[in-house]
């Protein structure tokens, strides 16, 4: 009997960060966020361009896809919205009049909507219409566990809210996931963090990492107050929010006027000056986050008795807290899904269906790297650059590395685009802006003249894996840039541009095996400067998603003060 390949397409959409992912017989083939194509940051629309690329990349038609899996269950989500309205009535008309009509008109018919998208865009496809629905936190669990290098592991997922669940503790054993405990809406640490993010004038669902970056500038003087007035945390890490101070369950905003009394200041207007009090608030919520993570992880350890931990859900992208988890050594090994938010759930939904829905066994991945997006051939690169009327040089691979490393050593800022795009909010050396970390005022230049973003934002170092321990206090390699750790005191003055104000850094360790092009570049840079570290930040400007195509990269290059651009073997200089 013929063994037919099983193709599963995972889809996440209609909330934020929509994405699509393809697996073949349980092996991850490709995954990409819609925002990279649409150029709309955190795009929530149906990921049709992502799906089109995924199918064409694998030379498949929609008829070849055996199962399409959506990342959450819409009816359960609608039920939660109704239950919330009922629970908080007579408060909550604001939420009711905004949410319920939208759901009744569009969202409740998501099966039909998704089918229509497929039929409209692939009219001749002969799609089998097999559409399945995973559960939101199961998708997070699956995205965190199945690509991890562990046979068995504890799984902790924390996010804003899925359908109803906000936090889960599970065990992954071989192909199965068993949930042991959960916390439900409205008690969500993700929503608490988002409420503070909104209070500090940043955008919910995308500005949280700015709060994390702002935190080291402040003192956590409000952390006790947060624990007294906003969240009640028990010794086992379980918690409940004090809902009278929040508004997300009754209105279309996150916090109430009580926040102003708690923090003795008014909410910061977006784009206004950041003052010390805002830094103190950020530091305080970050400290509560760190404490909560440690309590949660201790509880997970006690409950599961596992030695390895997988972290998923949007809150797991808080690498300051995950760094504390790694440092605590409560678990021997910690793995964080690099696309831990809802985008990664597209992958999780597909994997959950394959292993749980179809009951297929799991082969442990030793080293998952999220290079799952589009890449471009030399011909495509040249065609794109020609259409932009760009001047360029095509070099050999060795020459490219030599020229790029020399430019970096000369203090130039380099845009580096190689291979497949990252399926992750972090640039890992495939769509990166790179620079010499020894340059003192580089942080300011990069933030204000190249990224056009707030001056407090830190930059991450990419370091050769074999040199990492000499420069950073990192207990294990961190190829996915998931943990913040201390920089060794003796090198803080050597690489000031990648050391945050509190002496920490979000390190990416680069190995020849898993990131060869980037490794060669850093190695060459080291041979020129004796420094195995580069500044690595995503190749985009503020408010835009990371670049995807050579044309995107060229536009970014021309519209900023980036000095050189490398795309594959093509070298451009201003």
């Amino acid at each position: 009997m013929e063994n037919k390949d099983i193709y599963i397409l995972g889809v996440s959409a209609f909330y934020h960060d929509s994405a699509a992912a393809l697996i073949k017989n349980g092996q991850i083939v490709s995954a990409v966020q819609e925002e990279r194509f649409s150029r709309v940051k955190n795009d929530c629309s149906f990921p049709i361009e992502a799906i089109k690329w995924i199918l064409s990349d694998s030379h498949l038609g929609l008829s070849d896809i055996d199962h399409v899996v959506f990342y959450e269950k819409p009816f359960v989500k609608f039920e939660r919205i109704l239950a919330t309205c009922i629970h908080f009535a007579p408060k909550g008309f604001g939420l009711f009049k905004k949410q319920v009509p939208t759901w009744l008109k569009e969202k409740i018919f998501q099966r039909k909507t998704i089918q229509n998208h497929f039929q409209d865009n692939f009219p001749e496809s002969g799609w089998n219409k097999k559409l399945f629905f995973s559960e939101h936190h199961l998708s997070h669990c699956a995205a965190a566990f199945y690509p991890s290098p562990f046979e068995d592991a504890a799984i902790l997922t924390i996010d804003g809210v899925g359908e109803r669940v906000t936090t889960t503790v599970s065990i992954g054993r071989k192909g199965k996931i068993e949930r042991l405990a959960e916390l439900n809406f409205p008690h969500s640490f993700g929503l608490l963090y988002s409420a503070v993010t909104a209070f500090l004038g940043f955008k919910v669902n995308s500005g949280e990492y700015k709060v994390m970056g702002l935190a080291p500038y402040g003192s956590p003087i409000y952390s006790e107050k947060i624990k007294e007035t906003l969240v009640d945390i028990r010794s086992d890490g379980s918690f409940r929010l004090r809902m009278k101070n929040f508004r997300f369950a009754t209105e279309m905003r996150m916090f109430g006027s009580e926040f102003e009394k708690i923090f003795c200041t008014s909410a910061r207007e977006p784009e206004s000056n950041i003052e010390q009090i805002h830094m103190d608030i950020a530091a305080s919520v970050q400290q509560v986050s760190d404490e909560l993570f440690l309590m949660l992880v201790s509880y997970v350890k006690k409950l599961t008795k596992q030695s390895s931990l997988c972290l998923g859900g949007g809150v797991a992208l808080n690498c300051a807290s995950t760094g504390k988890v790694l440092e605590s050594k409560i678990f021997d090994k910690v793995w964080v899904q690099p696309s831990a938010g809802d985008a990664g759930s597209a992958l999780g939904a597909a994997l959950a269906y394959y292993h749980i829905g179809l009951g297929r066994p799991r082969a442990v991945l030793k080293n998952y790297m999220p290079f799952l997006g589009p890449e471009f051939t030399l011909d495509q690169i040249l065609a794109d650059l020609d259409s932009c009327k760009a001047g360029y040089q095509v070099l050999s691979p060795d020459q490219v590395v030599q020229r790029a490393a020399q430019a970096l050593a000369d203090g130039k800022v380099l845009a580096w685009m190689q291979g497949r795009a990252e399926f992750s909010p972090r640039a890992l050396g495939h769509r990166s802006i790179l620079a010499d970390p020894r340059v003192k005022d580089l942080k300011k230049t990069l933030n204000l003249k190249i990224k056009f973003r707030e001056s407090f934002r830190p930059f991450a170092p990419a370091v050769l894996e074999e040199d990492a321990s000499n420069w950073f206090d990192l207990p294990s390699p961190s190829p996915l840039m998931n943990f913040i750790c201390k920089t060794r005191p003796e090198v803080r003055d050597v690489v000031p541009s990648v050391v945050h104000v509190d002496g920490t850094a979000r390190v990416q360790t680069v190995s020849e095996e898993f990131n060869p092009d980037f490794y060669k570049l850093i190695l060459k840079f080291k041979s020129l400067t004796n420094c195995p570290v580069l500044v690595n930040t995503s190749l985009n400007v503020r408010g835009e998603p990371m670049v995807l195509t050579p044309a995107d990269a060229y536009r970014c290059f021309m519209n900023t003060r980036i000095d050189c651009l490398v795309i594959g073997n093509v070298y451009l200089e201003k």
């Binding site: 629970h87 319920v100 629905f133 042991l180 959960e182 009640d232 086992d236 918690f239 409940r240 004090r242």
Partner: protein, 132 residues
């Protein structure tokens, strides 16, 4: 090319709306005729005018439908307010009185943990075909 397609889509949308409104006025006309025989000529005339404009000059209806849509939104808010006050709120009181509301909104002094371990749906039993 795209503009042309969008224009055609808009016209088709306006035509569909005019047919729907014509049907509405016709029904009103019928009701009025059988009820008291008073206003039906007005509704019939409105139905005829709307359908004629819809067929021959649909673009002239765009402003009309814009204001109708605005009115519709306002009526919608009132309707949702009525539902919220007369259905949702009493339901909330009843559920609270019968202690059937399982959502919690505030911390409690009594439990030593807030973890929920009962009634957890085992992911291995999730029916992927269902949306609930």
């Amino acid at each position: 090319m795209v503009d042309k397609k969008e224009e055609n889509d808009d016209l088709s949308f306006l035509r569909k709306k005019s047919i729907a409104m014509c049907c509405g006025f016709s029904v009103l006309s019928g009701i009025s005729y059988f009820n008291n025989g008073f206003a039906w000529p007005i509704f019939t005339a409105a139905a005829v005018i709307i359908i004629m404009l819809g067929i021959f000059y649909p673009s002239k209806l765009s402003n009309f439908f814009y204001y109708i849509q605005k009115l519709h939104k306002k009526i919608g808010v009132v309707a949702f307010f009525v539902v919220f006050v007369f259905v949702i709120t009493p339901m909330s009181w009843v559920l609270r009185a019968l202690r059937l509301d399982d959502m919690t909104s505030n911390p409690s002094e009594s439990p030593i943990t807030y973890w929920e371990t009962e009634n957890i749906k085992d992911p291995n039993d999730i029916d992927f075909t269902k949306q609930f």
